[in-house]
Amino acid sequence: MVPAGHYLVLSAILFAIGVVGVLTRKNAIIVFMSIEIMLNAANLTFVTFASAMGDLGGQVAVLLVIAVAAAEAAVGLAIIVAMFRHRETVNVESFNVMHG
């Protein structure tokens, strides 16, 4: 039996990778994938605590997150496709029309 702490550390590492990816990468698809990594890091935390505490509520939450993530992936990818059609690029640095 792997102790819960290991899962949690893995989850934290995944989450940090996701954060760094979101904050630093320029390609919108990579950013998007990093968000997915963060969501899954959160899912891992949920199931870890669910199993450690014997509470099914955590697993229910994970199913919910997966459903939302699927919807979010559909919308997010559609936005990226629209962005690409508009600018011929998915580099997030070329989308700064809101600058002051």
């Binding site: 950013v31 997030v92 640095e93 989308f95 029309v97 600058h99 002051g100």
Partner: protein, 645 residues
């Protein structure tokens, strides 16, 4: 009667409303009836008030009507209330009586104005009459000040009546601004009165003056001096007289009404009204008398060489006002008011006569292009002769008695110096007035030939007021025949002095009213002599031997130039007052207003916001990832707080 006092100022005010709002549509005929008509009615009510006063015992001669409480703040009360006593009814009769004649005269004089200008003219003239009546009928200093400002406003409006000429507009502004300087002093005087007495009502202030202020104390002195500053502005005394000669830019009847007969005498009335304060301030009285005497002599010398007929009369007015201040300055308030009344008669007549001349010559005012008008304007000639003799002080015309009363009072009060100045001025007055008279009416016509054919006597509406005023200027002095003459004529009383006696009763006590009869007769003979000499000199210089005056002008070139340029006082004021003030205003405009307030303040605030938002907007890069970094750091900070804190 007291209930009807409000009619006196209300009637001219009704004229203002009618002429002002409907005058253009009513047409010139209706305006010509309304304008003089309301003043004539006001004169009728004033006569009724006068008659009502005469029926009262002398000590109780006062009518009072409170219309409403204008200001009530704490203990302070400023009612709109009218007071009619022998002093104010005298002024009311002058204002409405002489005013009515001048209104009537204006109908003829302003005949060439279009409907619009005609209605505007009579609106202003009625408004002036209203304000002047408010001034003399007010029962407190504050309401008096309202009238005081009102007449100043009308003076401004009427000087600049033909405002399309910039010079007229500038003259109006000058009059208004110089008057404002005086008014500022007057206001301070009213504040001081309120500070001392806690009230501005005559009935509260004047009887309590002796018990509240100390005789010769600084408070009495400064109060009186500041009030007098107001009087120097309104009544054109040194140093604020400079506006009056320029005020001749207005229509001539305006000069007669406002700048000779009534408004400019407001200062004399005010001092006479506040005499209870002035007798407590001998220092201030001495200043009043000295300024009056100095102004009388000074203006008379300038009047000697002016060539514009109205300018001569303007300086003459300043000089005669100086006499009035000399009178009140030696505490001869009755004599000052007496001269005010007779002066109103003969000076209004002189101005109206000059207006008749100007009218006949189609606007010509330069006496060098007049002459020989005696044959063409007989009515004007004879009435002007009466007025000129009156102002010169030839008995038995009006000016003799009032001027003699003033000179006698100066002598009796122990001021032979002031008397001497007044005496010399009397000679100068005769000289410059007969200079005007001879230059205008005698000799040969010196104007262009074509102007000669247009010469005509004025229409009846102008001639009748001239005749009435000529009668008044002739017999008007008989109401104040001095005792020494009256006794010789079989006990003729000094009616005027007796009439005003209740008002000035507190002054008369303890001062010798008259010198020995011998001295008085001597003073009288001296006045007549100096006036005769003045007339003879004028005759020699301006009627008999024109060569001589050319030689004199060359001989005394420097003196002549000084007088011709009016002592360069306008230029000195320009240099000492107007320019520095202009520079200060320009500084305030360019540096303080444009630089500090607009530049640093308004535009500075804008620039600061702009700069600040410029800096702040750098944060808004538009890169979502930058926002996320901040968001992430924020989350970390919150977490750190939750974990550590």
């Amino acid at each position: 009667m007291a209930d009807l006092l409000w009619l006196v100022p209300a009637l001219p005010l009704a004229g203002v409303a009618l002429n002002g709002f409907f005058g253009r549509r009513l047409g010139k005929r209706a305006v010509a009836w309304i304008g003089p008509g309301v003043v004539g009615l006001a004169f009728g009510v004033s006569v009724a008030a006068f008659a009502a006063l005469t029926r009262l015992p002398p000590d109780a001669r006062a009518l009072h009507q409170t219309l409403y409480t204008w200001i009530a703040a704490g203990d302070f009360r400023a009612p709109v209330a009218l007071l009619v006593d022998p002093l104010s009814v005298t002024l009311m009769l002058v204002v409405t009586g002489v005013g009515f004649l001048i209104h009537l005269y204006s109908v003829g004089y302003m005949h060439d104005e279009d409907r619009r200008g005609f209605a505007r003219y009579f609106t202003y003239l009625n408004l002036f009459t209203f304000a002047m009546l408010l001034l003399v009928m007010a029962d407190n200093f504050l309401l008096l000040f309202v009238g005081w400002e009102g007449v100043g406003l009308c003076s401004y409006l009427l000087i600049g009546f033909w405002f399309s000429d910039m010079a007229n507009a500038a003259a109006g502004k000058k009059a208004f601004i110089v008057n404002r300087i005086g008014d500022f002093g007057f206001l301070i005087g009213i504040f001081l009165i309120f500070g001392s007495f806690g009230s501005v009502t005559f009935a509260d202030v004047l009887p309590a003056a002796a018990s509240t202020l100390t005789l010769g104390g600084p408070l009495a002195f400064w109060t009186c001096l500041f009030l007098f500053v107001g009087a120097t502005g309104k009544s054109a005394q040194i140093p604020l007289y400079v506006w009056l000669p320029d005020a001749m830019a207005g229509p001539t009847p305006v000069s007669a009404l406002i700048h000779a007969a009534t408004m400019v005498t407001a200062g004399v009335y005010m001092i006479a009204r506040a005499h209870a304060l002035y007798v407590l301030a001998p220092g201030a009285l001495a200043i009043v008398a000295s300024i009056g005497a100095a102004t009388a002599l000074y203006a008379a010398t300038i009047g000697l060489v002016q060539t514009d007929i109205k300018k001569v009369l303007a300086y003459s007015t300043i000089s005669q006002l100086g006499y009035m201040f000399l009178a009140v300055g030696v505490a001869a308030f009755g004599a000052g008011i007496f001269h005010l009344v007779t002066h109103a008669f003969f000076k209004a007549l002189l101005f109206l006569g000059a207006g008749s001349v100007i009218h006949a010559l189609h606007g010509e005012q330069d006496m060098r292009r007049m002459g020989g008008l005696r044959r063409h304007l007989p009515v004007t000639y004879w009435t002007m002769l009466a007025a000129t003799l009156a102002i010169a002080g030839i008995p038995p015309l009006a000016g003799f008695f009032s001027k003699d009363a003033i000179l006698g009072a100066a002598w009796n009060a122990g001021h032979p110096g002031l008397w001497a100045v007044g005496w010399v001025t009397a000679g100068l007055t005769a000289l410059y007035m007969f200079r005007l008279f001879f230059l205008t009416f005698h000799g040969e016509f010196r104007g262009p030939a074509e102007a000669r054919h247009g010469l005509h006597e004025s229409p009846p509406s102008m001639a009748v007021p001239l005749v009435v005023l000529a009668v008044l200027a002739t017999v008007g002095g008989w109401i104040g025949v001095p005792a020494v003459v009256g006794d010789a004529l079989g006990g003729l009383p000094d009616a005027f002095e007796g009439w005003l006696a209740p008002v000035f009763a507190d002054v008369a006590r303890g001062t010798p009213a008259h010198a020995a009869p011998a001295a008085e007769v001597g003073l009288m003979i001296a006045s007549i002599a100096v006036a005769t000499v003045g007339i003879l000199m004028a005759w020699v210089l301006y009627a008999r031997d024109p060569e001589l005056r050319e030689r004199l002008a060359r001989r005394f070139h420097a003196a002549y130039q000084i007088l011709l340029h009016k002592y360069w006082v306008d230029e000195i004021y320009e240099f000492l007052v107007v320019r520095p003030y202009d520079a200060l205003s320009t500084f305030a405009w360019r540096v303080i207003d444009d630089g500090l307030i607009d530049g640093l303040g308004v535009r500075g605030a804008g620039a600061l916001v702009r700069f600040g938002s410029g800096v702040a907007s750098r944060w808004e890069t538009g890169y979502v990832q930058n926002y996320l970094v901040v968001f992430f750091l924020g989350v970390l900070a919150v977490l750190a707080y939750l974990v550590i804190g």
